[in-house]
């Protein structure tokens, strides 16, 4: 199911071009559309957008700017998937490195990493995300060669990626602490293997299972966090579509056109649900006794 959603997202430009004949951010406030042989305003004179037409153009209706909701949903899927998958990749890489370092070297390194995680843990995720999102979007990011403008998709991606590290680094550290005392690590050390070599050659293959169990759940979490940030206006920025922003915009006109809120939300639920089901399956396949928990 998740694969299906990804395929749909990848096909978004095809759909936009050949079925809906529009782009995700083309406004069409004054246009008309033929429904059942009858001409109708895309956005009526009192500002109410058209509801679902169930045909090629405006399949799911239009938003306040006369943009095609179905097309925006698909492009929103692209943005959400891109952000969630990239952010989770960042989380995974950082989490593995920090978990390995903290668990293997212990001492000062562990102290620094663990205390940083404590600090990150102490700031409510949403508050930190919103604060970073708003402040970074204002000024953009300039860090050496890395230069991002305020409305770049990379800003929410980086924020979500970094914020998620705690969820992964903590359990991995615990696992590495346990593994480093085992015989095969001692054997490698006796052979004169270096620290990084033991970490990545000996311990890393043993924590992959845990990482795999966490991965779908981290992606699900990232999708939800992205939607929440965008809903609060601190994530993806207009005119880029995102499910969270679409719900936020839809909520303003929910009385006249509830489809604008319902559609992106359903997409979100389906995506997250499919990820959670995958996560469940992976967990049962790998470790039936493990208890994994993420929270928002």
């Amino acid at each position: 199911m998740f694969v299906l959603l990804v395929v749909m997202a990848l096909c978004a430009p095809l759909y936009a071009k050949h079925v809906a004949h529009t782009t995700p951010d083309r406004n069409n406030i004054t246009g008309k559309v033929t429904v059942g042989g009858e001409q109708r305003d895309v956005v009526s004179l009192d500002g109410i957008p058209i509801g679902p037409t169930w045909q090629g153009e405006y399949l799911l209706g239009a938003d306040q700017n006369g943009r095609d909701v179905a097309v925006r949903l698909l492009y929103g899927a692209r943005n959400s998937m891109f952000i969630a998958l990239t952010a989770t990749a960042i989380t995974t890489i950082l989490g593995i490195i920090l978990g390995l370092l903290a668990g293997y070297y212990r001492g000062v390194v562990d102290w620094i990493i663990s205390r940083s995680m404590d600090v990150l843990w102490a700031i409510p995720v949403l508050l930190l995300g919103v604060a970073l999102g708003v402040s970074l979007a204002l000024g953009g990011v300039k860090l050496g060669p890395l230069e991002l403008s305020g409305d770049s998709l990379w800003i929410p991606t980086l924020i979500i990626g970094v914020v998620g590290v705690v969820y992964l680094a903590r359990p991995l550290r615990g696992e590495v602490l346990r593994l480093r005392e085992q015989e095969f690590v001692e054997a490698a050390r006796a052979q004169g293997a270096s620290g990084p070599r033991i970490m990545f050659g000996e311990i890393f293959p043993n924590i992959i299972a845990t990482v795999l169990v966490f991965f779908p759940l981290l992606v699900a979490n990232a999708v939800l966090l992205e939607a929440a940030l965008s809903f609060l206006g601190a994530g993806v920025r207009d005119p880029d579509p995102s499910w969270g922003t679409m719900i936020g915009e839809g909520e303003k006109v929910i009385i006249t056109q509830p489809a604008l809120t319902i559609a992106p939300g359903l997409m979100l639920v389906l995506t997250v649900l499919s990820l959670n089901v995958v996560g469940e399956a992976v967990r049962e396949a790998i470790d039936p006794r493990a208890r994994v928990r993420l929270e928002q």
Binding site: R115, D118, V119, W121, A122, I123, P124, L126, L127, L128, V130, A131, L132, V134, S135, L136, L138, G139, G140, K142, A220, L224, A227, A228, F231, L232, G233, A234, G244, I247, G250, E251, I254, I255, P258, T261, I262, P264, G265, L268, V269, V272, L273, N276, V277, E280, R289, R291, R293, E295, Q296
Partner: protein, 317 residues
């Protein structure tokens, strides 16, 4: 034990200090962060801007500004927001009861429902009812709270008129009934996610505990099945759930309810935070974040200390 507690307390102070530095840094290091420009408005003269800089101390070095802000945060004296220039603590006093009302009600609801569903599905593990609960729980943790809130508010509140359409009525104004009536939807919506999590965690803990030796011993002694479940299995299985409860409650109070508050227009500290962030108003942002961090850190520490006190196997480090 005493040493352990002292160490944890020192750790808490360190974490809170680091949090304050991070929050301060986020809003002062960024370009365009200069608050005096926004405070003076669009049509302002350089003199006006300079005057504001001087009045509010924005011309001082960043460390001085940090120390000044922390001083105001701790003493609560003259701690005003940049935009409305209202006292931050007065605003918090207004918002906190609302957030507490939301959080306490929801926490009771999700605990009760989570435990009931968890026990129910554990006792029927592998049967149809267990499967249904499991699916419902999965759906519950997959629904974005703000979306659910918006829909419930629209259909049950606006369309059907079963519940008031958002808003908060203090007990002193509308009495206990109106207060509850306005909070029912937010409570339920905020609880859904946690009910899903708790029922699943409790289910798997109960199933694990059932296989323990002491449960078998209890059964062998001829105690009734009901008593075995309630007195032995459930008692042990509740420990992780209670831990989660403490941590999640801290999280919800400390800003986790920001989405629910926004959707239902409850004007608690979550909404206060959202408004302040959109105006880059640092003093309220700092106050709310620190408040959240204090709740989280204190509850974390309490849980840790309780754990260490209850379970001697945990190393006191």
């Amino acid at each position: 034990m005493a040493r352990f507690i002292v160490r944890r307390l020192l750790g808490m102070i360190f974490v809170l200090f680091a949090v304050s530095v991070i929050v301060f840094g986020i809003f002062f290091v960024i370009p365009n962060g200069a608050p005096e420009n926004r405070m003076a408005g669009k049509q302002s003269t350089p003199q006006q801007i300079a005057a504001i800089r001087k009045d509010w101390g924005f011309d001082k070095p960043i460390t001085t500004q940090y120390v000044k802000m922390m001083e105001k945060l701790v003493t609560g004296k003259n701690f005003k927001s940049y935009q409305q220039q209202r006292d931050v603590y007065a605003e918090l006093r207004e918002g906190l009861p609302r957030t507490f009302a939301l959080a306490i009600g929801a926490a009771i609801l999700w605990m009760a429902a989570g435990v009931a569903l968890g026990v129910f599905s554990a006792l029927r593990a592998g049967k149809k009812a267990d499967f249904v609960v499991n699916v419902l729980a999965l759906i519950g943790i997959s629904i974005p709270v703000f979306w659910l809130g918006a829909l419930v508010n629209h259909y049950l509140g606006y369309k059907l008129g079963l519940f008031p359409n958002g808003g908060y009525v203090p007990i002193s104004e509308g009495g206990l009934w109106q207060w509850t009536y306005h909070l029912i939807m937010p409570w339920v919506v905020l609880s859904i996610l946690f009910i899903g999590i708790y029922s699943r965690v409790l289910r798997s803990t109960i199933l694990e505990t059932m296989n323990e030796d002491f449960v078998r011993t209890a059964r062998a002694k001829g105690i009734s099945e009901r008593r075995v479940i309630v007195r032995h299995v459930l008692r042990t299985s509740m420990i992780p759930i209670l831990t989660l409860w403490g941590l999640d409650f801290g999280l919800v109070i400390g800003g986790g309810a920001i989405l629910t508050e926004t959707v239902f227009d409850l004007q608690g500290i979550g909404s206060y935070y959202a408004d302040s962030v959109s105006q880059l108003d640092v003093p309220p942002i700092m106050a709310v974040t620190m408040l959240g961090a204090v709740f989280i850190v204190v509850l974390n520490t309490v849980v840790d200390i309780l754990y260490a006190a209850l379970d001697p196997r945990i190393r006191l480090t």
